[in-house]
Amino acid sequence: MTFINDNNAERMNFVELWAEYVLNHSDIEWSVQQNVLINSCLKSARMTRKEYLAMKG
């Protein structure tokens, strides 16, 4: 449980750090960085319709 709790706390720390960055920088500055993550995730997520529906239950 400690590992999971520690991991969740670490994640939340970064969420707060990033949200402060968004708050204190221009929309272009944060969105360009956010889009690196979003666009690459979408590119790498390739699956068939059947696989997707099975995953979603």
């Binding site: 949200a19 968004v22 979003i38």
Partner: protein, 192 residues
């Protein structure tokens, strides 16, 4: 990011997910009101995560309206992942199930479309915010207080708690904290 009354202005670079959502919304809004809900709301507001889907809530609609929406979606290169036949897809929605739409030959990203099914959904759809993006593009989202309350009180997964925390920080000074508390009581009572 600028909060002006019921509008949030975001001069952000659009992601592929934003462009996909806007393509769908530009068709949907010709036929019905809607509100984007759940994870994509926090992503639109800058959360550092991706999502394979965009959740959209619409009011209950009749078969004729649905046929018009689906015909326009097909013309624009969308298809329904769950089923193909108009009536079959409509029956999913009518039975209060969500249906997913993606661009032809893909499954990700997709739109999860659902009709209102209870008083919480009705409330969500009745209190919305407009997000103004560049080039006069706009997306209607659920009010942030409901998003926060739902994620913190009902969903509670680490991802949802992080989404709520992100919104609380980027929208600080623009949130009605008493309203969040009232929503939490209402949600607790409804889902207990």
């Amino acid at each position: 990011m600028e909060f002006i009354g019921n509008t949030i202005k975001i001069a952000r670079e659009l992601s592929e997910l934003d462009t996909f959502a806007l393509d769908f919304i530009n068709i949907l809004k010709k036929h019905t009101s809607y509100a984007v809900i759940s994870g994509y709301v926090s992503i639109l507001l800058g959360r550092s995560r991706a999502s394979e889907d965009v959740d959209i809530l619409i009011p209950k609609i009749g078969f004729n309206i649905f046929q018009e929406i689906y015909a326009d979606l097909k013309k624009a290169g969308f298809y329904c992942i769950n089923a193909e036949d108009d009536l079959e897809v409509y029956n999913y929605i009518k039975e209060k199930l969500a249906v997913r739409f993606a661009k032809n030959n893909s499954v990700i990203p997709n739109i999860e479309l659902k009709c209102t099914k209870n008083k919480i959904d009705d409330l969500t759809l009745s209190r919305t915010l407009k997000v103004m993006l560049s080039d006069n593009k706009e997306i209607i989202i659920s009010n942030l207080e409901m998003q926060i309350a739902f994620k913190e009180k009902i969903l509670k997964s680490p991802k949802d708690l992080e989404d709520a925390r992100h919104i609380r920080i980027v929208a600080q000074g623009h949130l009605d904290k008493e309203l969040i508390k009232r929503y939490e009581v209402m949600l607790d009572d409804f889902y207990k």
